[in-house]
Amino acid sequence: MFGDYEAQRHWQEITINLPIKQWYFNGSDNNLQYWGLDYPPLTAYHSLLCAYVAKFINPDWIALHTSRGYESQAHKLFMRATVLIADLLIYIPAVVLYCCCLKEISTKKKIANALCILLYPGLILIDYGHFQYNSVSLGFALWGVLGVSYDWDLLGSLAFCLAINYKQMELYHSLPFFCFLLGKCFKKGLKGKGFVLLIKLACTVVASFILCWLPFFTEREQTLQVLRRLFPVDRGLFEDKVANIWCTFSVFLKIRDILPHHIQIMISFCFTFLSLLPTCIKLTLHPSPKGFKFTLVSCALSFFLFSFQVHEKSILLVSLPVCLVLREIPFMSTWFLLVSTFSMLPLLLKDELLMPSVVTVMAFFIACATSFSIFEKTSEEELQLKSFSISVRKYFPCFTFFPRIIRHLFLISVMTMVLLTLMTVTLDPPQKLPDLFSVLVCFVSCLNFLFFLVYFNIIIMWDSKNGRNQKKIN
């Protein structure tokens, strides 16, 4: 089946055989309708590098025009190996370093944490089953998070710029980075060190962008064409079935057809920014590494739910920050990561990945359950809801059953997911509603994601100074 695998192979063919100026343009040698390049230049450079290696081993794999649809066992091994090498060089070291730098836990728990993060089924299935290079952009973003959390701000922002220049979807993470760094500058005082830091950061960002886009800055037309390929605003609010608010809403009301184009863009813009504004403002005013990670989650989730032209694979952008907070809220994180994998079910079934999905999800669940003892960590304090429930109890004094509610919700959610999976696999959808199961999967996932959006926003907003003082007293 021609899909992302053929797209990547085609990009290697294009980048090695054509000059840079023709990469993003429609031409006789480069038919943009057939898997045209629609990622930023760093992806193109990566494809070029892989193409050089492919040329050394077997030039037939990337011969212009004649290698379309090429499939052989050796070629498959090569392509899969490129994903593995990229993973080994960028993503896995970042995860290992992140776990090593965690404070106040034993080595064994650090290893268990790293194992759980690396076992996250969604990334493994999409990168190695469906075939993509998400580990590169997510890895760079993780290096960015590491740098910025441990005060290596310039290197962190450089890494994050590389991530954005690899896949434009990383822009989902850009606001938290911006707010966190801005907050740091404010804290250091805008008249002194803060201002210096701000200038340095701006220079780093600009320099890295210029470096990546250098061949495309020579002509205005080049830059514009690349931007047009990266942000196809001519397409609609959403494509295919995705666990997004708009797709779910369109089950009841076909907004895609009712409203004109620019209104759709405006609505989605407004909703996205309204939903992420509170957390971002809080991060700017009180920058802290912990708040930064949680804000990454809520921002990315807001973008996923309300933004334009979202693909179901974009949930990985939310899953990465959630993996980072696995240590702090193991129960909710594991639950979220399971739902995120489930939300991609239609895509995985299309790729015939049912058995690997089931196996990896089970392995991940068992790993998390044994490493973190998640079922014992459902008290209010463990769920970081203590301050919130104290505030609620001011108005409803008998409201003490948060943990119980959440446990019940978890059970319902898991049972629904298992049931839907079984139904999708065994039953045929009715004639009049051929997409019934995909829509149901999206609907259920969307409800779960909305719940998580509310939850993460609550945690961030109620993580007040009181909470921090209480921990110090304890």
Partner: protein
């Protein structure tokens, strides 16, 4: 919720290991499978569609039934489940039929029957003492043994990729060993008799069982210095053992005796028309012998001692299973290999008789029998190394000396299985799994025995590390050189000879340690 929490979060590491490896086996379902897949499909078809009288005569497919009757009954039982997956696979004429449902059924049947192996490992863990245990779970001998057995690399790739049913058969053997350790001798004997009628390759280790049961079970007591006390012989025990073996054999061969088909059955079970070496030489003594013969013949041709016209055309390394002659050294006949094997196992048998050391001594004799028959047997498959590797795991967590022998044997034995998986997609799998298993086994055993002298001397370390460059050469460098067309057999030859050196060394070292062990002071176990 609490129960789930206990089950997942509690201390049941054994279940976690078993479940983890089962999940890995599920991931290996779509990998390459060898002709053994078709063999077993054919046997499902034969046992399901034909009456018993035809089972050992049917020859539509080239893969005729050549395992003893219990295995045929096993396939018959499986076929009744198979018919719900895909009826077509049970048709004898559907040669090479492998629909996706057939694949799923066969793979699941291997994974399911491995439950017996898991149970056997659980029983074996009870038999080793945990005196050396540290406080850490991962340093306990039971934990290390469970990982070495459940996640054994050789068993994983032979059973779940190449496709065979060694899991539950090894489980039967380990279970019978465990029963002997637990002094339940009659059950151990029964299990071994059953095992023999599942796969007759276990005849290799039958002498160890026979001598041990005779010496340590039929003779109920020893003199203070450990030698035999003739008047303690118990006829009752001997007869009960004989009765068990007789009843099992009657159950297995009885129907075929009634049909007068025993000669046919035996001719299927013991086909001696095949050659000394399998298509890919098993890394045993004869591999070294044949390599030496080849070297000498090349030297002889260069120095004009040999007449080129007298050299037979058939080359042992051309990859076909045929009969052939050696050129310089004397040719080897089946009888010669039998005599060599008998001579090789005799010292260990004598040790078991004259210096019985309880179940541990029995286990060492068993491993030596398995290894000796691997070294000198006729038409040995490289997969037979698993017969020695799996029981050796039990010894490896006991003494440092045994651990070092185990590591050499296992690493070279596992590496010698690489040519079984020659397809490109399996290359990363086999390398990664092998690295994982080897690194784990070496590091865990080194940690377990860190208070004693180091496990390897410099020569052994060098040899083991040499496996890396050998693999790189055979799989990555050689295919791009010009020798690939002229001498395509070189990687197989090199692998075979290099591993044969290691396995011979391990066999020799084990023999020396058995023969030089101080007698009977340690009858604590008895």
């Amino acid at each position: 919720m609490a129960a789930l929490g206990v089950a997942t979060g509690g201390g049941d590491w054994f279940s976690a290991l078993a479940l983890g490896v089962t999940l890995l086996k599920c991931l290996l379902i779509p990998t390459y499978h060898s002709t053994d897949f078709e063999v077993h499909r054919n046997w499902l078809a034969i046992t399901h569609s034909l009456p018993i009288s035809q089972w050992y005569y049917e020859a539509t497919s080239e893969w005729t039934l050549d395992y003893p009757p219990f295995f045929a009954w096993f396939e018959y039982a499986l076929s009744h489940v198979a018919k719900y997956f895909d009826q077509e696979m049970l048709n004898v004429r559907n040669l090479n039929y492998s629909s996706s449902r057939t694949l799923l059924f066969q793979r699941f049947s291997v994974i399911f029957t491995d439950t017996l192996f898991v149970y056997a490992v659980h029983e074996c863990c009870k038999c080793i003492d945990g005196k050396k245990a540290g406080r850490e779970l991962t340093e306990k001998p039971k934990f290390i043994l469970s990982v070495l057995l459940l996640w054994n690399f050789g068993l994983l790739i032979v059973d779940h990729i190449h496709f065979q049913y060694n899991g539950f058969l090894s489980g039967l053997m380990l279970l019978s060993i465990a029963r002997l350790f637990q002094k339940r001798h009659k059950e151990g004997a029964f299990l071994f008799a059953v095992l023999l009628h599942f796969k007759h390759i276990y005849l290799y280790v039958a002498p160890a069982y026979g001598v041990y049961l005779l010496r340590s079970y039929c003779f109920t007591a020893n003199k203070p210095d450990g030698s035999i006390r003739w008047n303690s012989f118990s006829f009752l025990r001997l007869i009960s053992l004989g009765l068990i073996v007789f009843l099992v054999s009657a159950l297995s061969l009885g129907p075929f005796l009634a049909l007068n088909q025993l000669p046919q059955v035996f001719s299927r079970l013991f086909p001696f028309k095949r050659g000394l070496c399998h298509a890919y030489w098993a890394p045993n003594f004869w591999a070294l012998y044949s390599a030496l013969d080849k070297v000498l013949s090349i030297i002889g041709l260069e120095l004009k001692f040999l007449d080129p016209s007298k050299i037979p055309k058939a080359s042992m390394t051309s990859g076909l299973v045929q009969q052939f002659q050696h050129t310089v050294l004397p040719s080897v006949t089946p009888l010669a290999t039998l005599i060599c094997t008998l001579i090789a196992i005799l010292p260990s048998i004598f040790c078991l008789w004259f210096k019985p050391q309880g179940p541990r001594g029995f286990l060492r004799c068993l491993i030596l029998c398995a290894l000796s028959s691997f070294m000198f047997g006729w038409h040995v498959h490289e997969k037979a190394i698993l017969l020695a590797v799996l029981p050796m795991s039990l010894l490896s967590v006991g003494k440092a000396g045994d651990a070092s022998i185990f590591l050499i044997l296992t690493t070279t034995g596992h590496y010698s299985l690489f040519p079984l998986l020659f397809t490109a997609p399996e290359l990363p799998i086999k390398i990664l799994l092998m690295l994982l298993f080897t690194i784990y086994s070496v590091s865990s055993l080194k940690t377990l025995f860190r208070k004693e002298k180091p496990l390897f001397n410099w020569m052994e370390t060098f040899y083991l590390l040499g496996l890396g460059p050998l693999e790189v050469f055979c799989e990555f460098v050689f295919p791009f050189t010009s020798w690939k067309l002229k001498y395509p057999f070189i990687p197989l030859l090199l692998t075979s000879v290099y591993c044969a050196v290691g396995i011979t060394y391990a066999w020799f070292k084990l023999y020396v340690s058995v023969l030089t062990d101080p007698p009977v002071g340690k009858t604590k176990k008895q």
